[in-house]
Amino acid sequence: MRHVRGFDVVRPLSIGMLIFMMLPLVFLPLASIFIFGTSNGLDKFWSALTQPEAIFALKLSMATSFWATVFNVFFGLFASYVLSRYNFWGRNALIVTISLPTAIPTAVAGFALLLLWGPYGTLGRLLTPHGFQLMFTAGAIILANIFVTFPLAFGVIKPVFDTMSRSLEEASATIGATRWQTFWHVTLPSLRGAIVSGALLTFARAVGEFGSTILVSGNLAGRTQTAPLYIFAKFNEGQIEAANAIAIVLALFSFLIFSVLFLARDWLDVD
């Protein structure tokens, strides 16, 4: 290819190729959800969506994800603060441990929780006789969500802590602020962007969590069945429309979260 003055042929070619690659990977599968889901008319779509079990599944997903997110934001902040402000023996080991769940298959994570808290699990065996049964409840789903998504929130918040100049906090201290005032007025505002994106990432990931949820929840329709589990169950029963309706909602929801993430990043990081 000769180089034409002022025109680099590699540029449009590589952009075109990238889009072409993304077609079968992302664009077409997503498009087919919408095409298929609405092919029988919006009425069918709506009635599939308003099934009590479907609504329950969506609500449960949102609620469990919400609580997992709340926990992740607070504990993620705390863990990031400790691990980036204090240097102690075993610090790196702790950081690796916190990040480990990202590398663990979610089914393994769910299985591990089951082995600990389940009726015959290491701890569960001792607690079940006293009427404490964590597994197969909404609490178990939250726990699994936290287990799987905590590294996400931590991974977003900690780097911001690391790069934040110590002199801001030192300045605040010399001006006369207590640790709490410094955290509240100085540290936290600088973390706003990281907290929002950490929360949204956690939430998006938790809403879609399947592998660990199916093991710890028991997948009981109308009781512990989350939206992804509902899709899977309806698909197995051959009720493609029912599965598809929820799939559309989840897909739209993830679009929404990512647009917020994308737009809010710029908005929140204004210095």
Partner: protein
């Protein structure tokens, strides 16, 4: 430690550097600091008077930042005390000391506007809204940033951010202002401009201030007094005039601008540099005959003369050959080679700290740097290869290291 006391200074009285004019507003008494086994500060003591500017001048690693952090309460001293307006604060955390620190990076809070930044100290002290607003307005006026009050720090220039940082500390009436290399991040022009501005500002607010810097020009211009630090101890404290013109140690002499250093022996009222004899003017009693000393003089203290006739008041140094003449803008720099043949029993073993000579001379000749102001340079033109008579308008004599 080399002490300032044993100086042999021509035509001057004893320096009065260690006591500020008015009582101390901030004192550091016998501070030392270790990091692990490494000692970074040894027995640092100084006072700063109300409204006075003290500059801690030192190379990187001299411990100047550590002193500042100890005063601010961001670092604990190993021994010693910090006293602010008569109150010992050594054990107090930073927030209870009421010091104002202007960090090198300014450390303005990025998510607060200029006025929020300035009012921060009062807000956390739970002052009334009205009082905060009034103070902020006053300070905005003082640092001339009224039209920028709603801006965020990132929208300001370096110099403006600096002024916000100062206003932010002045808001809560600090016991002492501490400046940590405040001009380090700025270009030369802004730096010169800003330090004049800040000097004027500080004279208005009457708060004791401590600056740290490695820039000697900055130190001389900003400081009412300057403390020269070298690897964790103070070499000399004095007015800019004193430390420049009457350096107490060779380190001070060479750190503050260029200096020529000659080894000499004291002998019957003369200082002998090889075969050259210089009449020892004052303070003869400070040195015994046979003592090894160093003669220190600045390039601008060297007078170059054709022929043997010298003006009154000059001390003859000897003959020298002009090796190089450089035009350096405001003045002319001349490198000369002086004859100093003859034995020199005072040659110290260690390689001396020369700033101005390229190579430490082995013997018999000595490289000297002289500068001449423009009028003189154009009145009597000198040429490379010419021989001239060297004389000194003033010089300092210090004991040689190792000599008692």
């Amino acid at each position: 430690m080399v002490k300032a006391k044993e100086t042999l200074i021509p035509r001057v009285v004893e320096p009065v550097s260690n006591t500020p004019a008015s009582p101390a507003a901030a004192s550091v008494i016998g501070i030392s600091k270790r990091f692990g086994k490494a000692s970074v500060l040894e027995n640092i003591s100084f006072d700063v008077a109300e409204g006075e500017v003290l500059v801690l001048l030192g190379a990187s690693g001299s411990g100047k930042t550590t002193i500042l952090r100890i005063i601010a309460g961001l670092e604990m001293p190993y021994t010693g005390k910090v006293v602010l307006h008569g109150r010992e604060v050594t054990e107090l955390p930073a927030r209870e000391r009421g010091v104002g620190v202007i960090f090198q990076s300014y450390a303005l809070f990025p998510k607060m506007t200029v006025e929020k930044n300035i009012g921060y100290g009062l807000r956390i002290r739970k002052r009334k809204r009205k009082e905060i607003r009034e103070t902020v307005n006053e300070l905005l006026q003082l640092v001339q940033l009224e039209e920028h009050r709603k801006k965020y720090p990132s929208q300001l220039s370096g110099g403006q951010q600096q002024r916000v940082a100062i206003a932010r500390t002045l808001a809560y009436k600090p016991e002492v202002l501490l400046f940590d290399e405040p001009f380090g991040a700025l270009d030369t022009q802004t730096r010169v401009h800003l330090r004049r501005e800040i000097r004027t500002l500080l004279k208005k607010v009457n708060v004791p201030s401590i600056f740290i810097t490695h820039d000697q020009e900055e130190a001389l211009e900003l400081g009412d007094r300057v403390a020269v630090l070298n690897v964790g101890h103070i070499e000399q404290i004095g007015t800019p005039f004193e430390i420049y013109n009457r350096p107490a140690t060779e380190y001070v002499a060479t750190f503050l601008g260029a200096a020529n250093v000659l080894d000499a022996v004291v002998r019957n009222g003369f200082l002998e540099v090889g075969s050259v004899q210089i009449p020892a003017t004052v303070d003869k009693e400070k040195f015994k005959p046979g003592d090894c000393v160093k003669i220190i003089f600045r390039p601008e203290d060297v007078s170059l003369n054709r022929g043997d006739f010298l003006q009154k008041g000059l001390s003859r140094l000897g003959n020298a050959l002009i090796e190089e003449i450089n035009f350096v803008g405001a003045y002319e720099r001349v490198r000369l080679r002086m004859d100093v043949s003859g034995a020199d029993e005072c040659k110290t073993d260690e390689t001396p700290f020369y700033l101005t000579t390229q190579t430490p001379e082995r013997q018999s000749t000595k490289s000297i740097i002289a500068t001449r102001p423009k009028p003189e340079a154009s009145a009597t033109r000198l040429h490379v290869g010419e021989r001239v008579t060297l004389a000194l308008t003033s010089f300092t004599v210090l004991p040689s290291k190792g000599a008692s």
